[in-house]
């Protein structure tokens, strides 16, 4: 494990930063809850309700790659996503503590993408890789938890592609858009020096 440039310890300001960012996203995405219910309602008559989850999943998994990019430590994506899940559970998410399990799995999934580049690359490439690993890991989990394993193969494949697109658009494209603005502002420079 490389520890040449800076330490892997989480400092108070990192924890506070990620928690506040998570609360921000929680409030901005509070709309997502309504979107999810609305989409589910719309898709239910066709029996296609699970697509609501997969279309929006990218929004819920954004905290991981964002944390990885901003904090750049081993475990940043996992811890960032768990923090976001804890915040969601506290400020009134409908799933309570089980959000923490999803948070861990989503964060671990995002983490693998950055692990694959040995925590050296922080750009659209590693974000894309992270979107791919997030999709694979969370999808395996949903095969069990959300009963995806019981569906016909064509539906499973369609759900997988939907989820991959969603995590890529939100977790890679949108996060990369945000981080480009951050890079231009040079606000993170002294933190990652």
């Amino acid at each position: 494990m490389e520890q040449d440039t800076h330490s892997n310890r989480w400092h108070l300001r990192d924890v506070i930063l990620m928690s506040i960012v998570a609360i921000f996203m929680g409030i901005i995405f509070f709309v997502t809850g309504f979107l999810y219910n609305g989409l589910t309602l719309l898709l239910t008559p066709f029996g296609m309700a699970p697509f609501a989850n997969d279309i929006l999943l990218g929004l819920w998994t954004m905290a991981g790659p964002l944390a990885a990019y901003m904090i750049r430590k081993v475990g940043a994506a996992t811890i960032g996503e768990i923090l976001a899940a804890a915040v969601e559970a506290v400020i009134g998410g409908q799933w309570g503590p089980s959000t923490l399990i999803s948070g861990f799995i989503q964060g671990f999934g995002s983490e693998l993408g950055f692990t694959a580049t040995l925590y050296r690359r922080y750009d659209l490439f590693s974000l894309t890789l992270s979107a791919l690993t997030t999709t694979i890991v969370t999808f395996i989990w949903d095969l069990v938890r959300s009963g995806y394993g019981a569906y016909h193969l064509w539906l499973i494949i369609a759900l997988f592609i939907t989820r991959l697109l969603s995590t890529w658009i939100f977790g890679a494209l949108l996060v990369s858009g945000i981080t480009k603005l951050l890079d231009r502002s040079h606000l993170l420079d002294h933190r990652n020096a």
């Binding site: 989480w10 400092h11 108070l12 300001r13 990192d14 924890v15 506070i16 930063l17 928690s19 506040i20 960012v21 609360i23 921000f24 996203m25 409030i27 901005i28 995405f29 997502t32 999810y36 219910n37 589910t40 309602l41 239910t44 008559p45 029996g47 296609m48 309700a49 699970p50 609501a52 901003m70 923090l83 804890a86 915040v87 559970a89 506290v90 409908q94 799933w95 309570g96 503590p97 089980s98 959000t99 923490l100 399990i101 069990v144 938890r145 959300s146 009963g147 019981a150 569906y151 016909h152 539906l155 939100f170 949108l174 945000i178 480009k180 603005l181 951050l182 502002s185 606000l187 993170l188």
Partner: protein
Amino acid sequence: MNPTLLLLLTLLVGLEISFTSVIWANVVIIAIAIVVMLRYRVHWLTFVRLLLIPLIPAVGIWFSIRYFSTAHSVHFAWVMSTRIYAYAFLGGLFNAATTTNATLASLEQNGHIPTTFVYGMLGAFNFVPKIHSEVAIIRASARMRGVNLHFWSPQLLFKAIVAALNWSENLAEAMTSHGFTENAQRTHLKVLRISIRDYVVAGITLVVLQFILFSHLP
């Protein structure tokens, strides 16, 4: 019950019902949660919310399992619907039984989570009202310039992160100057312990759950 133990217990129960498909287990969990919540005198509106919010996903998954699963299984459709309700009521039970502060305090003392995380999160939660108004300010000032920021706009999140960067530096410095040392040994005014009774209750719960899960009930 001690919040750390309760958290572990609800997580374990949640995990187990994710990997098994027994309708009765879900129903019993929901019933127990309702009894516990009644004991804590939870407001009736909370019950209404807990019943209504999962309704859409529960009905949605019922239909998709019924029509698009390979077995078209009615049983599995009910498993998934009741599972969604069981998750929601486990959350309701946890929220009724403890508070955020008590849980974080217990996680520090009983769960041995590093104090940096516990107090960092506690500090951040105090910003919730400020964050609400900051989001409103960012969107309003953009609208004054004729720009409409949606939740998918990078600018909105960027501005939020800039505010978070400022606040986190300030709060971390403020806490340090008030004597907070990262992960230092702390003394506690209120020492929290997990009582034997809590262990017994948690143990019985798990044993009963295994009994329900593995006795060939539907």
